[in-house]
Symmetry: C2
């Protein structure tokens, strides 16, 4: 990057469908720290002063950082106003395979049944990564994919957390039980108290459903037990990412 | 509400500053269930078919429900695209007093140090209400207020959860300790493991800081202990509302 005036940067062209543009500080920063190929970074003069990005910009052997005149340019390239002054062209997100997750010793896997809100998927990925989960499993259809919006909502956690797509979630849960894992589905109503369950078995899969509809019947039927957090107030349900956090940290507490 | 064609509804005028327009299904529904005065409701023909709202619309003694021709009208009146087809004019949010919260026997209070993101404030309010917390304390300055965006993000939980503003948060924590509560501040770094603490004392205040900056020094110094959730991944921090959920449910678990 030349010092001084921002380099002239052409207006973003229409991008081919297979170009992935991440946006947001943590999303881009964690992509650099993870295994995803980062091909190019664009940042405002303000954003490029952040130490982690300045270090990249001043390293001639690192990825190119273009300083653009204003955030509007980055908004047009990323398609989002939530870019925080930085976006990056990266390789497409690479999903893990469900078998890889099940091959881990004593896995702690979070499975999501048709969670379609990118904010919730990103938030749960972030918490799962922090809690040390082995990975996340989402259905191949009718689920939010790991889009740049999800990367942003996860604060970049998806760069470090294996995420796999299962063709059929109930079948995956059956496979997990087949290799000795215990499968617990979170239910707002009708589950046993979550603190009354022993999660110290050889493997744990925590299944969470969409907020509106909960777990589909076949998914619920594929669980060893349905568990519930106590609801002591007047509103009927926790946000699914709040439930994920409370349940995951209880599982982690018990597993030590 | 007349049956048949939607009643003609005038375009929203510019509203005086003291008029509060809630929007979103849960926000309006919980306002009706809570103690806030609901003065008027506007809904699309689709939204008014939901049972809870249809019941209000067909009850001549209840609040008026105007069916509007399209969601654009509600977006203009509420100022948000996230209205889900319904908005309501309501009395302003009434804050509780900190002394009321401290007067409760064995209180469980969540105190937020300058959390400015309405999504986080709303999400924490929702979790706190579900976990049965006594109430929430926010600083009177440099904090998100309980705006309609916060009501929406809380799924209406703020209608049932006392929320008080403290002139000075550190002083409030001192007052809480003065009446026998134990004050625990959540810290990403440097806190003791949260599971190693006994929360079964006569009262608990859980203090959470903003995501970027954590607790201010004087606030941290006003805590009996600083506690931390384990971070076992590669990213550096949990979202503050995810941390709130894991910590609150551990406190609830211990208090029984």
């Amino acid at each position: 990057m030349p010092a001084g005036a921002p380099a002239p940067t052409r207006e973003p062209r229409t991008l081919p469908d297979d170009v992935t543009i991440l946006y947001g500080r943590n999303a881009v920063h964690e992509a650099l720290r993870g295994s995803r190929e980062v091909q190019h970074i664009w940042a405002t003069a303000h954003a490029v002063e952040e130490p982690w990005l300045a270090a990249v910009a001043h390293d001639a052997s690192a990825v190119d950082v273009n300083v653009v005149a204003d955030g509007g340019w980055i908004e047009r390239r990323s398609g989002s106003p939530d870019h925080q002054g930085v976006c990056a062209q990266v390789a497409p997100f690479r999903y893990a395979y469900v078998d890889e997750l099940l091959a881990v010793e004593h896995p702690l896997i979070v499975a999501l049944d048709e969670i379609q809100d990118p904010q919730n998927l990103g938030a749960i990925a972030r918490t799962a990564e922090c809690a040390g989960a082995t990975g996340l499993v989402i259905p191949a259809r009718r689920s939010a994919d790991v889009t740049p919006a999800v990367c942003k909502a996860s604060a970049g956690a998806v760069e470090h957390l294996p995420i796999a797509r299962a063709r059929n979630l109930a079948d995956f849960l059956g496979d997990a039980r087949g290799v000795g894992a215990w499968v617990y589905g979170a239910e707002g109503d009708g589950g046993v108290p979550y603190t009354g369950v022993d999660y110290s078995g050889p493997g744990v899969v925590l299944v969470l459903g969409s907020e509106g509809r909960g777990l589909r019947p076949r998914v619920a039927a594929s669980c060893d037990a349905l568990i519930a957090l106590p609801l002591r107030g007047r509103i009927g349900s926790l946000n699914v990412s709040a439930a994920a956090s409370a349940l995951l940290y209880e599982i982690v507490r018990q597993r030590g």
